[in-house]
């Protein structure tokens, strides 16, 4: 589905890997390793300095930028909701492409386990966890083929983070979409992912199944990261 070929963009250098359809990939590594940069490259919010990125076999720069972004949904670390109601946020993406239908609103809220009474609630009245759920539903509203998640629980307290994780677990099982998620939380990686990419010092240090990587790390850097 995604192929990175010798991609470089500070701090990443010469990165090559492939992500298959419906894979649940966890990107992990220390802060500043370039994990978020990688997600921005997928969504084309950022351009590589060199190398090529392919989506479904075609270079991503051959797609219309907006169409690509619609199909490769990104949930940012902070929710960054737009002023207005929850409904305004949910319909934002689909309305850009003339695809919004009011009947979808309740389903989207169900996906993220929020009651339909929230539809007309102003986003300024939401808690941190609720904001992140709305942000997730807003991305899902575009029905993306790939879901990119940039540490979606890092700014939340432990309990709220667990709730969001449950929501994500349900979504992943139900929709069988391809997911690429950045997380620092190794337990979360274990629960949500099936393949891991460990990134450090600008490069891909280890690539394998999550249990393998976390229980039997081959790379010393990964071992230090897990222990440290």
């Amino acid at each position: 589905m995604f192929r990175f070929e010798k991609v470089s963009q500070d701090p990443l250098t010469n990165l090559t890997f492939t992500i298959q359809k419906k894979e649940k990939v966890i990107l992990f590594g220390p802060s500043g390793a370039g994990k978020s940069t990688l997600l921005y490259l997928f969504n084309r919010l950022s351009e590589p300095d060199s190398g090529s990125i392919y989506f479904n076999g075609k270079p991503i720069n051959e797609y219309s930028v907006t169409e690509l972004r619609k199909n490769v949904g990104l949930v940012l670390q902070a929710p960054h909701l737009f002023p207005g109601t929850v409904l305004d946020n949910l319909k934002y993406g689909p309305s850009l492409f003339g695809e919004w239908e009011d009947k979808n609103a309740k389903t989207l809220l169900e996906y993220v386990q929020l009651p339909s009474s929230y539809l007309h609630k102003d986003v300024s009245q939401l808690s941190g966890g609720e904001e992140q759920r709305v942000s997730l539903a807003r991305t899902l509203a575009n029905s993306p083929e790939v879901l990119l998640l940039d540490e979606p629980t890092s700014a939340l307290d432990y309990q709220t983070a667990e709730e969001i994780e449950e929501v994500l677990e349900g979504l992943i099982k139900e929709h069988e979409m391809t997911m690429v998620m950045v997380t620092h939380n190794l337990n979360q990686a274990r629960r949500l992912g099936d393949r891991g990419l460990f990134i450090m010092d600008g490069g891909l240090q280890e690539d394998g199944t999550i249990p393998d990587m976390l229980d039997h790390p081959k790379n010393e850097k990964l071992l230090n990261f897990i222990e440290g």
């Binding site: 919010l45 930028v65 902070a78 909701l81 993406g93 850009l96």
Partner: protein, 258 residues
């Protein structure tokens, strides 16, 4: 009503220095570090006003078709360079401001002359154009500053909008809206309280010069509404022309470079 030509003697003028000493003292006591700035501004303002007084006397004696374009042209050029300071890191900001001012002044002047609101005389067109150009300059500077800070503060929201598939124009809709609002609101407020909180400068000048208040009000209305309209147009023009430089051709958010 007796016509009154306001006469302020040089001796009286000298005592205006008290109005400079007050902020200087405040700055000294509260350690505001504004002393040099206050002195320099007061000195510069005085010299500029005297200089413009002599220049205007000279221009008013010139034929209108020469004096008006000359002075209006100079005002537009100075205003362009001044407004540019607020957005000098943005590409093409200079021509955008220059064209906006030219357009605004051209339209307003045409309206004045076509509908016989103002006579094509240097003594009428130059001061009134100065007010239009000056206010537009301030509005454009405000718009540029506000736009930059809105882009900085809303980086996350812009990324969110772009990541959902928004075009740069759609992603920055809220920013454009807020920028225009910030640039226009002082004018809307000024228009709302005109005559209630303060008598506008032009009207005060005319009344002091012996013109009937009702006649002075008519002139004031012409200039107030002209300013209102030109400020709106110029702020809109500069905002809509400049927001696109915060994005590259791949619809990615960038730090603009002039």
């Amino acid at each position: 009503m007796n016509a009154l030509t306001p006469e302020v003697s040089n001796q009286s003028l000298f005592f205006l220095i008290i109005f400079v000493i007050i902020p200087l003292t405040l700055s000294y006591f509260y350690q505001l570090g504004l002393g040099k700035n206050v002195l320099w501004s007061a000195f510069r303002g005085t010299v500029q006003l005297f200089a413009i007084g002599y220049i205007l006397t000279y221009l008013f004696d010139l034929p209108a078709r020469l004096g008006i374009p000359l002075m209006v042209g100079i005002m537009i050029i100075i205003a362009t360079f001044h407004a540019r300071q607020k957005g000098k890191e943005l590409p093409h900001v200079l021509p955008v401001i220059f064209i906006s001012l030219l357009f605004v002044e051209g339209s307003v002047l045409t309206m004045w002359l076509v509908f016989d609101m103002v006579q094509f005389r240097p003594s009428e067109v130059i001061p009134m154009s100065g007010m239009v150009i000056g206010n537009s300059m301030v509005a454009m500077g405000l718009a540029l500053e506000r736009m930059k800070s809105e882009f900085r503060d809303n980086n996350g929201r812009l990324l969110a909008a772009l990541s959902l598939g928004a075009e740069p124009k759609q992603a920055s809709h809220l920013i454009v809206q807020r920028t225009l609002h910030a640039a226009l609101i002082p004018n809307v407020d000024r228009l709302k309280t005109i005559g209630l909180v303060q008598l506008p400068g032009m009207m005060t000048g005319l009344i002091l010069g012996g013109v009937e208040p009702v006649m002075a009000i008519k002139y004031q209305l012409v200039i107030s509404l002209s300013i209102f309209s030109s400020v709106s147009i110029s702020a809109m023009f500069v905002t809509l022309a400049m927001y696109r430089y915060f994005f590259n051709k791949n619809k990615q958010l960038i730090e603009p470079e002039g």
